[in-house]
């Protein structure tokens, strides 16, 4: 079955989304991620969407929900690598992802999470 890999970097988890999301995949990802946050005692989650040219309201909501789940498990989520065109589309759709922190790339995202943990 198709799965999105979750990489561990210290106490951070890195999720790189490179394929089209659909319901099943999103559910599996949320399942896997919440499990890994608990087992790896992760304090931060990085979701990298730099490979996505299209982000619709479904993926937008999925990201918000995932961030909310991670927050309950005491891990901060940073969304990194959004393309300019994607940002404009999301804003036009009215999806500003209020609860989610953002960073330009993975490096800056890690910095942001480390700063928050100190």
């Amino acid at each position: 079955m198709e799965r999105i890999p979750i990489l561990r970097m210290g106490r951070l988890l890195l999720v790189t989304i490179q394929v089209d999301m659909h319901d099943r995949l999103a559910m599996t990802l949320q399942d896997d991620l919440t499990n890994r946050i608990v087992t790896d005692r992760a304090t931060g989650v990085l979701i990298d969407i730099s490979a996505l040219d299209i982000v619709d309201s479904f993926i937008g909501r999925m990201i918000s929900n995932t961030a909310a789940m991670a927050k309950i498990l005491d891990a901060r989520t940073v969304l990194v690598g959004m393309q300019p065109a994607v940002a404009i589309t999301l804003v036009e759709l009215g999806l500003t992802l209020e609860g989610v922190s953002t960073a330009l790339n993975v490096e800056l995202g890690i910095k942001l999470l480390e700063k928050g943990n100190r």
């Binding site: 959004m82 300019p84 940002a87 404009i88 999301l90 036009e92 960073a103 330009l104 790339n105 800056l108």
Partner: protein
């Protein structure tokens, strides 16, 4: 328009071409407001090309309907003249006069040629008049289109000119906005800003609205959209250059800027941006 008795017209133009040309040019220059050497010689050139073209078209065409395919060359030539005049800033009257000025010299030749048959004369004059009215209207239409193109191009240029994104410091961008923000401009501003954020890896963007004359709910909404998009890319925005009146308007309109850092001047915003990115400014005593 269906009248095809243009034999007289054609023969007159062919036989009196030089005289007609002189009469036409004299008529044209007397009506022209701005007069200089270059425009007069250009006029002569255009007129001397137009006359034989008209004669040959009349010869081969069976109709004086200017939208017929036989008149394609004439239309093309008139369109060129009209477009060049629109670009040079001639008035519509001056442009149309190019065609209308030919009327009176032509009529005088028609009168002498058909002096014996008044009925034929009046018919000829009516046909010729209609023909030249059509041609004149056509020049006006082309003129108008050329003008519209110029306006559109200028609008586009303005749009591109007026949205620079400048890098103030490592990781700090500034976006000095000048003029009103409408949705088309917001789109351009947003695209420029986001692309620049990607290119420079900026963490903070300062949007300076000193040059924005008024901020209403729509402008405020566009600003908030830009800020939201920049935030999605991981860059924070600071709004600076808010004038006292604008601060009052924003509050009266009930626009919510709570979540945005706002500063009165670009300098204040820059200091905040430096603090956020971990840079400091120090003044040395010996260099004043």
């Amino acid at each position: 328009m269906s009248n095809n008795k243009t034999t007289q017209l054609e023969s007159i133009i062919s036989s009196h071409q030089a005289e007609l040309l002189d009469g036409w040019i004299a008529n044209l220059t007397s009506r022209l407001v701005r007069r200089d050497k270059s425009s007069e010689s250009e006029l002569r050139h255009q007129a001397s090309q137009f006359l034989p073209l008209l004669a040959s078209t009349l010869k081969k065409s069976t109709t004086v309907n200017t939208s017929a395919s036989d008149w394609e060359d004439i239309r093309h030539s008139l369109a060129e003249i009209s477009q060049s005049r629109a670009r040079q800033g001639f008035s519509p009257i001056e442009t149309a006069n190019f065609v209308f000025s030919l009327k009176s010299p032509l009529f005088s030749y028609l009168r002498t040629a058909l002096a014996d048959s008044p009925l034929e004369l009046s018919e000829e004059i009516a046909t010729t008049s209609t023909l030249f009215d059509d041609l004149g209207l056509y020049t006006i239409e082309v003129y108008q289109k050329a003008r519209e193109q110029i306006i559109q191009r200028q609008q586009q240029e303005l749009l591109e000119l007026s949205t620079p994104v400048v890098q103030l410091w490592k990781n700090v961008l500034a976006l000095p906005l000048i003029g009103t923000l409408d949705s088309a401009r917001t789109q351009v501003v947003m695209e420029n800003l986001l692309q620049k954020i990607v290119d420079t890896g900026a963490l903070i963007a300062i949007i300076d609205i000193t040059g924005v004359p008024t901020v209403d709910t729509l402008v405020a909404q566009h600003l908030l959209k830009t800020i939201a998009a920049a935030r999605l890319m991981g860059a924070d925005c600071i709004i600076s250059g808010i004038r006292p009146q604008i601060a009052q308007t924003i509050v009266h309109l009930g626009v919510n800027l709570e979540d945005v850092i706002t500063k009165a001047t670009l300098a204040d915003a820059f200091v905040v941006a430096l603090q956020r990115t971990g840079s400091t400014i120090s003044y040395s005593d010996n260099e004043r």
